[in-house]
């Protein structure tokens, strides 16, 4: 596919959509995957295109799943709101852990459970004006950087605090206060939970 030599942006765009196409087939290399995921968060056009490619496949196979964008976009928007209220469970690639007990305010509705080998990502309910990109990248940065140092991994991003040993001390300091700043959730219940704390490497 030849782009316009006078407009290199078209070539770049073609490459982006070509990466998305190979991602749809499970044939994208690592760099292409990263590019696709960035596009997903940053550009509505990328989301629409992914959906178009998937729809084409669905129609080819069955003819019965064809729908205009509005329905599917509304489905994702609604689900996204619900996902935002779910706790994120991370499975570190190479955990080096020690066990600790900690108490933290938790939303009863979230129903959070700590499982051995899993780090809890605490996330308050996102305010409506938080950029989608920032919100998605917060989770992906932590998830895709298992080799990173704790320093890089565990920074507060957009007011969302991520668990580490330093936060344990933070929680302890705030346990007494009724309003634990950014971590207080509406209707929050204080519980003691067994969990894993990432060590500094």
């Amino acid at each position: 596919m030849s782009g316009d030599p006078l407009n290199p942006r078209d070539d770049r765009q073609d490459e982006d959509w070509a990466a998305l196409s190979s991602m749809a087939d499970g044939e994208a290399g690592h760099d292409a995957q990263e590019r696709c995921l960035s596009l997903w968060a940053e550009r509505a056009e990328a989301r629409g295109r992914w959906r178009d490619y998937q729809l084409i496949g669905d129609v080819l196979r069955s003819g019965a799943l064809a729908r205009e964008h509005g329905h599917d976009a509304a489905f994702l928007a609604s689900l996204r709101d619900r996902l935002a209220r779910e706790p994120v469970l991370l499975r570190p690639a190479a955990p080096a852990v020690r066990r600790g007990r900690w108490a933290t305010p938790l939303a009863a509705a979230a129903g959070v459970a700590a499982v051995a080998g899993v780090v809890m990502l605490l996330r308050p309910v996102a305010p409506p004006d938080v950029a989608l990109t920032a919100r998605l990248q917060t989770r992906s940065v932590v998830a895709s950087a298992p080799e990173a140092t704790q320093q890089q991994l565990l920074q507060p991003v957009n007011g969302k605090l991520i668990r580490d040993a330093r936060l344990e001390r933070y929680f302890a300091a705030h346990r007494q206060s009724g309003t634990g700043a950014a971590l207080q959730m509406p209707g929050g219940v204080v519980r003691s939970v067994d969990t894993i704390v990432l060590e500094d490497r």
């Binding site: 499970g26 044939e27 995921l37 490619y53 080819l60 019965a64 205009e68 509005g70 998830a143």
Partner: protein, 202 residues
């Protein structure tokens, strides 16, 4: 390449907490899941809610998914169980049963008759989906032989790029390019039908 391999990269990233990867899987399978649930749950509003619930449950259960089956197989089972649970709840709760009855669903009859609309679709939505299907099929027919064969082998026969390269006797890069160009050609014809300016609602 089988179905489980196609999703592997996205599933692994989703299991590591990448919300974008999970969303891409949602958009990929949402229509199939809704259709599956609509075969079991008659009420259109309920289909939407049950489908959402199924994806939430899948999201929560992601850490337990070990890749022994294809991701869609696993998701399919979760969706079926979610729909069954909903049907049980409807039968148990007289208020829900009554409102389901009021919406035209007979709770004893879980499968639509042949001449009825599936998915609780309006006639307009059904017409739109038929039009979309017709447009896709016409666009496929209008493709060059190479592009049509490439996308058919991928989407209908489920062959990997490597297998397609073998069948079509061309490099893998050519396969990748042909499938991409086929998709773009079809998508260009589809977009006027899809009801929004490009990317607007996403």
């Amino acid at each position: 390449m089988n179905a489980s391999d196609v999703d592997r990269a996205l599933v692994e990233r989703a299991q590591r907490g990448d919300a974008r990867a999970f969303e891409m899987l949602v958009v990929k399978y949402q229509r199939r899941i809704e259709r599956l649930i609509s075969r079991m749950v008659r009420d259109a509003d309920l289909v939407h809610d049950v489908a959402q619930e199924a994806f939430i449950r899948a999201y929560r259960a992601l850490p337990q998914f070990r890749g022994e089956s294809a991701f869609y197989t696993w998701l399919y089972r979760i969706a079926v169980n979610t729909a069954k649970k909903t049907l049980v709840e409807i039968k148990r709760d007289p208020v829900l049963t009554e409102s389901a009855r009021a919406r035209g669903g007979d709770e004893d009859e879980t499968y639509p008759r042949d001449n009825e609309l599936s998915d609780g679709e309006t006639p307009e939505a059904l017409l739109a989906s038929k039009e979309i299907a017709a447009t896709v099929n016409a666009a496929i027919d209008a493709l060059s032989e190479d592009l049509r064969q490439a996308i058919t082998l991928r989407e209908i026969e489920g062959l990997s790029y490597e297998e397609i390269a073998d069948v079509m006797n061309c490099p893998i890069g050519t396969v990748r390019s042909r499938i991409f160009r086929a998709r773009e050609a079809i998508a260009t014809k589809l977009r006027p039908l899809l009801g929004t300016r490009e990317g607007e609602r996403w």
